[in-house]
């Protein structure tokens, strides 16, 4: 009997260990990237941003402004470059982007979210970061240099403020449009036609065979147009965007924007061998491009506007003409709220480091970035935004946690400084300096310096 008892116990122990072993297999969950091989090669920046309300109305308004170059028209880094229009490709400073295109790109890229999916609406949190180091709503990737250093003004604003992120995406799209030395053109290059943007959209996602409408990776039996809430598998990128323009998505039963009829190119007519959307034309263009031969390599892929295409006036419908008041609503008038104080770091280091609280006494978002950081100090984030009394939410300060770096500090008393730069939507820049001292074996202290703007 005793032997049976021991045997049963033995079996139970083996089985228990067995199940424990199965449950210990690590979940290979997808983690944030540790390096950005296609944009700088270093680690991604740590940005903090604000997530607006669930309706996305704030973002949609910002996209309206960006499409009409009314968001940051005087900012050389975020203004839209003039679109090259007409058969002669002459710059037209009055031309803009049909806003539905920006809406749809934002939806496809991020469901129009600026921050990580876990950040509640109306809160601050980590900026949305994709596997290939795309940031925020428009998934800005190529213009960010992740080199392991501190972010530039451009990079900080793209990561920390939704409006600049949207403006950067619109600017990138126009750059693709203007690149007629490389990409083919449609019709007379009239940007008022959504159909004219077919190749610019393709290029925005990457001029790859995976986006060719007759390529090996698309489903030849995919329903057209894309229904926006259907599975994306089997569609090239430009068809996803155009489908969402035709069939806008809904949030809580409300359509995010008015549908716009768009004529898709006829693949039956255009993708025959030798036709503009024939695969042979694409491959010929690649050969010409790699060989460095002269002339636009993909010129043979150009085609006329599809039948039924209609021009879209960016100032029709429910798009307001009062850009100034809308811009003020979107950007607000932020004011720095950053108090001088002194913190005993001895106790705070043990609890995870010192925390600088950066507030906004005005409205909108107040973006900031770290521009000077001692090498023996780490900053948990390198840029962020403080929310003012705006967008239907109470103010939320941004918090910057500082700590001694893993390499530590040399023995003795050290004095260094941290500088923060505050970036205003009217182009102003103000800096604040924080003096940090650390006695290796004593309490470290710091104090905020006087403004140096």
């Amino acid at each position: 009997m005793r032997l049976i008892g021991w045997a049963l116990l033995a079996v139970a122990l083996v089985l228990g260990g067995f199940e424990a072993g199965r449950s210990l297999r690590p979940e290979q969950a997808t983690a944030a990237p540790s390096v950005c091989p296609y944009s700088g090669g270093g680690p991604p920046f740590a940005f903090q941003s604000f997530e607006a309300d669930r309706t996305r109305s704030l973002y949609l308004d910002a996209q309206l402004l960006a499409a009409a170059n009314q968001l940051f028209p005087d900012d050389p880094e975020f203004a839209l470059p003039p679109l090259e229009t007409g058969s002669a490709r002459i710059e037209d400073p009055e031309a803009g982007i049909p806003p539905q295109i920006i809406h749809a790109i934002g939806w496809i890229e991020s469901k129009i979210n600026q921050t990580h999916i876990d950040v509640p609406y109306g809160n601050l949190g980590p900026t949305l970061l994709s596997f290939d180091c795309g940031y925020g709503i428009m998934q800005i990737t190529s213009t960010i240099d992740n080199d392991g250093g501190l972010p530039s003004r451009y990079e900080a604003l793209v990561g920390a403020h939704f409006a600049y992120n949207i403006a950067a995406g619109a600017r990138l799209l126009v750059e693709k449009w203007n690149e007629d030395e490389l990409f083919p053109v449609i019709g007379q290059s009239d940007p008022a036609y959504v159909e004219s943007w077919y190749y610019a959209l393709w290029a925005y996602n990457g001029w790859a065979i995976s986006n060719h409408p007759r390529g090996p990776d698309v489903d030849p039996f995919r329903p057209q147009p894309y229904a926006c809430d259907d599975a994306r598998n089997g569609y090239p990128y430009q068809e996803l965007v155009l489908g969402c323009i035709i069939n806008p998505p809904e949030v809580d039963g409300t359509r995010l924007w008015e549908p716009l009829p768009v004529s898709l190119p006829s693949l039956e007519e255009l993708s025959t061998p030798g036709g503009p959307l024939g695969l042979d034309r694409y491959y010929e263009g690649l050969d010409q491009w790699y060989a460095g031969l002269g002339g636009p390599p993909f010129a043979a892929m150009g085609f006329e506007l599809p039948g039924g295409a209609l021009p879209h006036d960016s100032e029709t419908g429910d798009i307001p003409h009062e850009f100034d008041s809308l811009r003020t609503q979107v950007l607000g008038e932020p004011e720095i709220l950053f108090e001088t104080r002194e913190i005993d770091l001895g106790s705070t280091l043990q609890s995870g480091g010192a925390v600088l609280q950066i507030g906004n006494a005005g409205g909108g978002l107040l973006p900031w970035r770290v521009v000077e950081l001692p090498d023996w100090i780490t900053a948990e984030i390198q840029a962020g935004s403080a929310l003012g009394n705006s967008y239907g939410f109470d103010p939320i300060p941004s918090r910057l946690r500082l700590n001694v770096s893993s390499e530590g500090a040399l023995p003795g008393l050290r004095h260094s400084r941290l500088r923060l730069e505050f970036l205003f939507p009217d182009g102003r820049i103000e800096t604040r300096t924080v003096t940090i001292s650390l006695e290796k074996q004593g309490a470290a202290f710091y104090k905020a310096g006087s403004p140096q703007s």
Binding site: V14, F18, A20, R25, D132, G215, P220, Q224, P273, E284
Partner: protein, 375 residues
């Protein structure tokens, strides 16, 4: 203290006690190790009695941020289903699933909830009733997963490389990266032979690879088409390869012999009618294939089935594309379209053709059939 207990100086009673407790402590450790290394499910071929019940299909129900895998009886697509698993995924990206040939397991590729790039971030799970096991990450969702004939391996794509994953260990047993342009597409694995294709500016090539203890050697490379091809499928005897060939908007099913002088031309069955046609392989290949057709699938008796349509005289009932035959060769899973062809497919729904030739449709347009479940 332990040493003291086990030493020769310790009394026999204490020594026996120590040994007994050590043995008890060792048992869960042994169990733990077994749990870590023991594969889930089975990769062995299973032979059982013929199931007289209609076979079941592995089906997926797509939702924006998760999809549900179901086991659906072939004779009742709209009736009672068995939930296999709920799989969370990135918004908008559907699963790609493949049931195992001889075991009740599915290989499921998905883009995880935090993922955004389907070509580099897909994960592969083995899912059976009551169990999900992560096999690999960093894969290409759009390339899908192909089971080997014995169920011991899975062929998937990571970047520009074809991975041969051992389903027992979860590790790649071999990897192949084709030289030059063109990513590889897995076709089949039988025994130690792998077939794959590459597509480049000059067309499609079929590559035959030999896998020997983790070392891959290229046995042959054959140009099978001047353009893009898809839906490659190897005949049961591995003598013939059927695929869909694309030229502009035209699609055509073609059959290529992999062995010189292959005999026994395939029995061809069109979905438009059930009249059997015998066409020589050489005739099909030389003519450029069967026009306005796609999605060839082999039946276990060597017959080839495919979908077809007539854009000029469209059938008001639409057209169907076969997905696969069940193991008994009696039931056929289908993609059913209300439209007239690839340019205008209309609405798609899952469907099944019964042994009696009747086609039943699923009411749920979100339901997608992946293949037949091995019981």
């Amino acid at each position: 203290m332990l040493v003291r207990l086990l030493s020769t100086r310790a009394s026999g009673w204490w020594r026996r006690r120590a040994v007994r407790w050590l043995a008890l402590l060792a048992l869960p450790v042994i169990g733990l190790l077994l749990g870590l290394i023991t594969p889930v499910g089975t990769t062995e071929l299973e032979f059982g009695q013929r199931d007289r019940q209609p076979p079941r299909l592995l089906a997926g129900e797509f939702h924006d941020t998760h999809s549900t895998l179901w086991l659906v009886p072939a004779d009742d697509l709209n009736g009672k289903r068995t939930r296999l698993a709920d799989v969370p995924h990135a918004p908008g990206w559907d699963l790609e699933a493949m049931p195992a040939p001889h075991a009740p397991i599915a290989a499921v590729l998905s883009l995880p909830p935090s993922g955004w790039e389907p070509r580099t971030q897909a994960v592969l799970d083995l899912i059976s009733e009551g169990d999900i096991r992560r096999m690999a990450t960093g894969l290409d969702l759009m390339a899908g997963a192909i089971w080997s004939d014995d169920g011991r391996h899975l062929l998937v794509r990571r970047g520009d490389s074809l991975l041969i994953l051992d389903t027992g260990t979860g590790r790649p047993s071999a990897q192949w990266t084709p030289a030059g342009l063109g990513s590889p597409y897995a076709v089949a694995m039988r025994g130690t032979t792998v077939w794959a294709t590459t597509i480049d500016a000059w067309g499609t090539s079929l590559i035959e690879l030999a896998v020997n203890e983790g070392v891959i050697s290229v046995e042959s490379r054959t140009r099978i088409a001047d353009g893009i091809t898809r839906d490659w499928t190897l005949s049961p005897d591995a003598n013939l390869l059927a695929f869909g060939a694309q030229s502009g908007t035209d699609l055509a099913v073609r059959v290529t012999s992999l062995i010189d002088g292959a005999s026994d031309p395939p029995l061809l069955l069109s979905s438009a009618s059930d009249q059997a046609m015998r066409i020589a392989v050489s005739d099909v290949s030389a003519s450029g294939g069967i026009p306005d057709s796609a999605s060839p699938v082999w039946r276990s008796d060597g017959g080839l089935h495919f979908g077809s349509w007539n854009a000029e005289a469209p059938d008001p009932s639409g057209f169907t594309l076969p997905i696969s035959w069940d193991a008994g060769g009696e039931w056929l899973a289908l993609r059913s379209f209300s439209g007239t062809g690839p340019g205008h497919p209309g609405t798609e729904r899952a469907a099944v053709r019964s042994p009696a030739g009747e086609v039943a449709h699923a009411n749920d347009e979100n339901l997608r059939l992946f293949g037949w479940w091995s019981e």
